[in-house]
Amino acid sequence: MNKIISMKEAIQEFVRDGATLAIEGFTGLICFAAAHEIIRQGRRDLTLCRMTPDLIYDQMVAAGTARKLIFSYLGNPGVGSLYAIRRAVEQGIPAPLEIEEYTHFGMIGRYIAGAARLPFFPLRSNTGSDLPAHNPAIRTVQSPYADGEVISVVPPLNPDVAILHAPRCDASGNTQVWGLVGMQKEVAFAADKVIVVVEEVVDERIIRSDPNRTLIPGLIVDAIVVEPYGAHPSYVQGYYDRDNAFYLEWGELSKDIEATNRWLEEWVYGVPDRAAYLKKLGEETLARLRPGQAPSEPVNYGVYA
C-alpha cells in the first residue's frame, strides 16, 4: 500500500469540517504547509489543539477555519501576542472562538493519557491556580496511599487527526526526528489518524541503521506527504533555520486585520501549493536559512548473525 500522497489529497481525505485537529511541534517542526492547504480548502468549525498555537493557528483562526482552540500558551514565542486569536477571543472577529485552556504540563498529560488510553493523567500542577475554576475538565483524584494526597488530573485528548512534520521517514512511515521532539510522539499515538509530513523520504535501510531514532512507527502512520520546507517559517533541525524575521514581521502586521487578510490573500490563497509558496519566498531567503553541517557521530549497532 502506497502511503505517499500529495498535501492536497491528504487534507481532502483526512481533515473534515468539524474535526479535532492537532498540528503539533514545539517551536520547530510546525507544519505550516498543511495549515495553508486547510485554509485553501476552506475547512470550517475545526477544533484546533496545540500547546503553543503559534503563528500557524493565528493564521488558521484569522482565515475562519476554527470553532474552538485547546491550548496552553497563546503567544508569539519571543515576540509577543497572537493578534488574530486575540481578536477572536476578545471581539469575536472573524467569529467567536471557544477556548479550552490548560498549562503546558496539562496538555502533555492529556496527550499521554490519550496515547495510553488512560482515563486521566495525574500531575503536580493547577493546584492553587484559578484555571480549574474556569475549566471543569481539570479535576482531582485522591491518592489511595498513606498520605492521601489530592492531586490534579486531566482527561485524555484524542484528536481525530494529527499532522506532524519530521525530517525523514521511510516509505512505510517509520519516522525519525532529531532536535526538539516536543510532543510529536505522544500526539501521534493519541490521534485516530496520523499524517506525517517530511522533508524527505529515505531508503528503509537508512531508518533501520538507527532504530532508536525512530520516534513514530509506520504502524500508526496513515499518510505521508513529502513537502520540503513545509515547516517554514518554523524550522527543521539541520535542514533550515527558524525564520525569526518573519515571526517579528507577523508580530507587527497581524495587529491590523486588513494587513492580516492581505497577507493570507498573497501567501496562502494566492499560491496553489507549497512549491509555489517557496518559489515566491525565493532562493535568497531559503539560502539565508540553511545551516552549516554538524553531523552526529555514528554508533555501532553490531551485526548479530
Partner: protein, 257 residues
C-alpha cells in the same frame, strides 16, 4: 521421520500461523510463537508486524533469538523504544491485534497461571516466573492465542493462581470489567484446537488434529470438556509449511521436538 511426517510442535506452529491471518500486529515471545509468527509472514500474512515486549517494532533478526531481548532483534529493526512506550502506547494504546501466551496452568475460562503451583502464595510448591507482561497483555491485546500441550496438570478446572485473566468466571465478568481486549480466542495444543463458547466463554473442543479422537483430548483436560457444535478436522502442515520451518526458520531443529 519421513518427508510427510511431522512433529506435534510443527503442527502447533502451523496452526498458530494460520490463526495469525488478518492480524496487523502480533505481540510475540521467543520459541514456538516466534517461529509461528515468522511462518505466518511467509504464508498467511506477509504484512504482519512483530512487536517484542523488549521494545522492538519491525525486527529483522539475522538469527533465531534465544530471548526477546536478543541484540539481533535490534540491529536493522524499524524502531526500538523504551519499555514504557511499548506498554503504554503500543499495548495499552490498543495497537496489538494478537498476542501469544503460554502458562503452567490454563482453566475452563482461559484464565492463566504462571505464578505458583500450590495454593499458598507465601509458601508455594513451585515458584514460577510470575506475570512479566502476561497480565497486561491478556487484558489489552485484542485477542489471545494460547499455545500449550494438553495435560491434566496444565488444563485444570480452576487455576491455583490467576495471573492473567481470560474470561474470569465467564464472558459476562470480563465484559463487566470493561477490559479493552476481547480475551482468549483459541488454545492451540498438540492434539486439537480449543476455542471459547461465544456466549459463556467456556473452553470447548473446536478442531481435532488428524488421527486424534475426542477422548484423546478429554484425557488431557481436567474437567468435563464440551465439544463445539461443529467439530472440525484441522489440516496437517503442508509440505511448503514444513519446508519453511525446517529450512528457513529452525534449521537446527531447536523447536521441532
Amino acid at each position: 521421520m519421513t518427508d510427510h511426517a511431522y512433529t506435534a510442535s510443527e503442527m502447533m506452529i502451523a496452526v498458530a500461523a494460520r490463526h495469525l491471518a488478518g492480524a496487523q500486529t502480533a505481540f510475540v515471545g521467543v520459541g514456538i510463537p516466534n517461529i509461528a509468527c515468522n511462518l505466518a509472514i511467509r504464508t498467511t500474512n506477509p504484512n504482519l508486524a512483530l512487536i517484542y515486549e523488549s521494545g522492538v517494532y519491525g525486527a529483522q533478526p539475522a538469527r533465531l533469538p534465544l530471548s526477546i531481548g536478543d541484540p539481533t532483534l535490534v540491529s536493522g529493526a524499524a524502531a526500538v523504544m523504551p519499555m514504557a512506550d511499548l506498554f503504554m502506547y503500543y499495548l495499552q494504546g490498543g495497537l496489538v491485534d494478537v498476542a501469544m501466551l503460554g502458562a503452567a496452568q490454563i482453566d475452563r475460562f482461559g484464565n492463566l497461571n504462571s505464578t505458583i503451583v500450590g495454593t499458598d502464595y507465601a509458601h508455594p510448591k513451585v515458584r514460577l516466573p510470575g506475570s512479566g507482561g502476561a497480565c497486561e497483555i491478556a487484558i489489552n491485546a485484542r485477542r489471545i492465542l494460547n499455545i500449550t500441550r494438553l495435560s491434566k496438570r496444565t488444563f485444570v478446572e480452576k487455576v491455583d493462581f490467576l495471573t492473567s485473566p481470560g474470561f474470569l468466571s465467564g464472558r459476562a465478568e470480563r465484559e463487566a470489567l470493561g477490559m479493552p481486549g476481547d480475551g482468549p480466542q483459541a488454545v492451540i495444543t498438540d492434539k486439537a484446537v480449543l476455542d471459547f463458547d461465544p456466549e459463556t466463554g467456556e473452553m470447548r473442543l473446536a478442531g481435532l488434529y488428524p488421527g486424534v479422537t475426542v477422548d484423546d483430548v478429554r484425557a488431557g483436560v481436567g474437567w468435563d470438556l464440551r465439544v463445539a457444535p461443529e467439530l472440525a478436522t484441522v489440516e496437517p502442515p503442508t509440505p511448503e509449511e514444513l519446508r519453511i520451518m525446517r529450512e528457513e526458520l529452525d534449521p537446527t531443529g531447536l523447536y521441532r521436538a
